[in-house]
């Protein structure tokens, strides 16, 4: 049998081929190149599943350097490479990305092809490139390669959000998404360079990786270069925070979350892809990827947890008052990624990855369900124009409901298990010795109520009651290519929680927490570092020894019960307010508060002010300095020589006698100079 790992590069290359085919041949193919994309992502999915099976079957993590594009001189300088790292974490993520991408391709047949959109080859090429970038990002074995594909992911999101670029709003939203995430990426770029300067390598895994090196330095062995006169610990924190800048931009954490709601201008399947598996997930995945590094710095972890908790709460409040279906989902995404950051910052590595997994499933489901509703509603997204769709599109309703209950965190849907684990881990470490985490935990708990409330409000307004418009009375039917992805994801949203039933671990036993066992990777020895440097177990040790995180005793069941009760309170409140055939717009009663929330706390306004009111004048002054003073000097030098040349050329009279006279005079002068200097006189 062939060694399956030698096929690993193909996971990302399939979608790259699909990109080329769709771009150049898409217009000649049936379905505008969709079939190539479906085949490619399907192939990636099969290969990814094979990798998972192989690792589960006991094969060690796979690490290979594919291509060295800058080779360092022996022992000097740095070596830049492209490489593959397939370990439990990246294998899991590969499956998620290729699965969601596959389903999104199928769904696009219904959303784009059947709706008669133009520019389909461009669309499918974009999807292919997007999937390629994300898959390559996921299996990167070093930070620089990760950064390159991180940027490529940003570019693809720009291309796809601005798919309908002839209209004003999508073009502007695409630009915003690109610029805001770029802003975060500047810090990431500096971080990458700084890590190179500090450790001389950016490898994620192995004996030579910067993670192991940092750990060794803090353990008292080895050395690293620090800058700005900072100590080792402080410098590692600075490095972690620099990279975190990119994460905050991509994963839409406060205050760089503003691009994500605008990104709803893109086609709905693209939103599903961005929110569930690719763009936004990239940030959180990066933190998980180099978790061994973050675990060394309690400060960085604390900041991650606080940003995450705060974002989870703030985004949930904004979702309360939105009227468009996709806007509610957008803010819920920001909020849920806040939870993941809270988990990672709170020392819950497994919990964060678990929530990333379940969220990918149910958020893709919700977006595809929303897409189905939007097809039915002839691209009207206002929930107040819907209502009563429950009986008219049952498949969409039931799957959407499964996704919503998962999002709201209702037992036994997937979201309940993962969200509960996030909160539980944060609480444990918060009660242990890190009271700061309790603040994040409190934000998280509040967000549970709000999440349940806005989710159920969304479901009730969309599907329940009486139809409020003629279109809702007689919605357009959707075909199999819409229903198939919904059903697949709907089933997963119900059962995915079984991966890690942390809440009832006292009942079923620790060894049946599959995801925990999986990420613990008992097989992770050998080439990639002693004792499994990438395993969850190792991270827990690091958290305890380096970050001082101690786990307190607290009943998992009790925490689960609290979270569930809070979620049910939210559900009940929404049900009470929006039940019945003709719900009232209760949120208008909030008055000024509603206005602030609907304007997203004026985040956009102040950021635009920062750009036009602050950055623009500074840029003007800089421009004036550049044009006037720096260019001025250069221009003056040029003008001086031009004028001087203009004068001097007059000595070229063209009369031979003058030249002879000059020659003679020159000779005489020369003689005089020699004479005076040589002391002849």
């Amino acid at each position: 049998m062939v060694d399956v790992f030698t096929l690993a590069p193909a996971i990302a290359l399939f979608p790259l081929f699909a990109f080329g085919i769709a771009l150049f041949l898409g217009s000649k193919m049936p379905k505008g190149g969709a079939l190539a994309g479906i085949a490619a992502t399907g192939g990636s999915l099969v290969l990814s599943l094979w990798m998972v099976a192989e690792i589960a079957g006991g094969a060690g993590p796979y690490h290979e350097e594919l291509y060295t594009f800058v080779g360092g001189v022996e022992g000097e300088g740095v070596t830049l490479t492209f490489g593959l790292l397939i370990d439990p974490l990246s294998a899991l993520m590969l499956v998620i990305v290729s699965l969601i991408s596959f389903l999104v391709h199928v769904f696009s047949l219904g959303y784009m092809n059947d709706e008669g959109e133009t520019g389909l080859p461009r669309y499918y090429a974009g999807l292919g490139l997007f999937t390629f970038s994300m898959l390559a990002f996921v299996y990167s074995d070093n930070l620089l390669m990760a950064f390159m594909f991180f940027e490529l992911v940003g570019l693809c999101s720009y291309l796809l959000i601005g798919f309908w670029f002839r209209e004003r709003a999508p073009a502007s939203a695409a630009k915003k998404a690109f610029l805001v995430t770029r802003f975060g990426d500047y810090f990431f770029l500096i971080g990458v360079v700084a890590i190179f300067a500090t450790f001389g390598t950016t490898a994620f895994a192995g004996e030579e990786s910067f993670v192991t090196a940092a750990e060794a330095v803090l353990g008292g062995e080895g050395e690293m270069n620090t800058f700005l006169g900072l100590g080792n610990q402080a410098w590692i924190t600075v490095l972690g925070l620099l990279v975190l800048g990119g994460v905050i931009g991509k994963s839409a954490q406060f205050p760089l979350h503003t691009w994500l709601p605008d990104a709803m201008e893109g086609p709905t399947p693209v939103s599903a892809l961005i929110h569930a598996a690719t763009m936004v997930a990239a940030g959180v995945y990066l933190v998980a990827r180099m978790y061994g590094f973050y675990a060394l710095s309690p400060t960085a972890l604390g900041i991650i947890a606080l940003i995450g908790g705060f974002t989870a709460f703030v985004a949930a409040t904004m979702a309360l008052v939105k009227q468009e279906l996709k806007q509610v989902l957008a803010y819920s995404t920001i909020s849920q990624y806040g939870y993941m950051m809270l988990a990672l910052g709170g020392g819950g590595y497994v919990a964060g990855v678990f929530h990333l997994t379940t969220h990918a499933v149910f958020k893709a489901l919700l977006f595809l369900g929303a897409g189905s509703v939007i097809i039915a509603m002839h691209h009207n997204e206002n929930m107040w124009d819907m209502g009563g769709l429950k009986d008219r599109m049952p498949v969409t309703y039931w799957t959407f409901l499964a996704g919503s209950l998962a999002l709201a965190g209702i037992f036994p849907f997937a979201g309940f298990w993962s969200k509960d684990e996030v909160l539980y881990e944060t609480l444990l470490h918060g009660l242990g010795d890190s009271p700061l985490l309790l603040v994040g935990f409190a934000f998280g708990l509040l967000a549970v109520i709000l999440t349940a409330f806005y989710t159920i409000r969304m479901v009730l307004l969309t599907f329940h009651g009486d139809p409020r418009t003629d279109v809702a009375e007689d919605p357009e039917p959707v075909r199999w290519n819409v229903k198939f992805p919904l059903v697949v994801l709907g089933v997963l949203a119900v059962v995915a929680g079984a991966l890690n039933l942390g809440t009832i671990k006292d009942v079923i036993g620790e060894e049946n927490l599959f995801l925990h066992e999986w990420l613990d990777g008992a097989t992770l020895d050998g080439e990639l570092g002693e004792g499994g440097a990438l395993s969850a177990h190792h991270y827990e040790e690091l958290l305890e020894t380096q970050a001082g995180y101690e786990a307190a005793e607290f009943s998992a069941l009790a925490n689960g019960a609290i979270a569930l009760v809070l979620a049910l309170v939210g559900v009940a409140a929404a049900w009470y307010l929006y039940r019945g055939t003709d719900p009232e717009p209760h949120m208008t009663k909030l008055g000024g508060v509603r206005r602030v929330l609907a304007h997203n706390y004026y985040q956009d306004e102040y950021q635009v002010w920062l750009a036009t009111g602050l950055a623009l004048p500074v840029a003007r002054v800089a421009n004036k300095f550049d044009q006037g003073i720096i260019d001025g000097f250069v221009d003056a030098a040029g003008t001086a020589s031009v004028v001087a040349g203009e004068r001097f050329r007059r000595i070229q009279t063209g009369v031979v006698t003058n030249y002879a006279a000059l020659l003679a005079l020159g000779l005489v002068l020369l003689l005089l100079v020699f004479g005076l200097a040589g002391g002849w006189f």
């Binding site: 007059r650 063209g654 006698t657 006279a661």
Partner: protein, 101 residues
């Protein structure tokens, strides 16, 4: 009986200055050529004089070379003057000023 060295040098300097004067003040190209010829021969006188004084024949051989050089120079010069005459119907050096600034 040998003539003192100074006389040769004064003669040479005088001839050279006459040649230089001719170049600086005349405008006739033919006179130019003659003046250049004078300057070259002033140099020849010097060479021969020093050769005699030092009892070394090298200077006289050099003088022979210089005479050859002067002949070649005249050949080229006459050619230029002919072209000058053909283009301007005159051999006044002040006419040919098209190549100036």
């Amino acid at each position: 009986m040998a003539v003192a060295m100074e006389y040769y040098l004064v003669l040479s300097a005088a001839v050279f200055c006459i040649g230089l004067f001719g170049i600086l003040v005349r405008s006739n190209a033919l006179v130019f050529l003659m003046s250049v010829e004078l300057m070259l021969n002033a140099a020849n006188i010097n060479l021969v004089a020093f050769s005699l004084a030092h009892g070394n024949l090298t200077g006289q051989v050099f003088a022979l070379f210089l005479i050859g050089l002067a002949a070649a120079e005249v050949a080229v010069g006459i050619g230029i003057i002919l072209v000058l005459n053909r283009n301007f119907d005159d051999i006044d050096v002040r006419d040919a000023v098209t190549m100036r600034w």
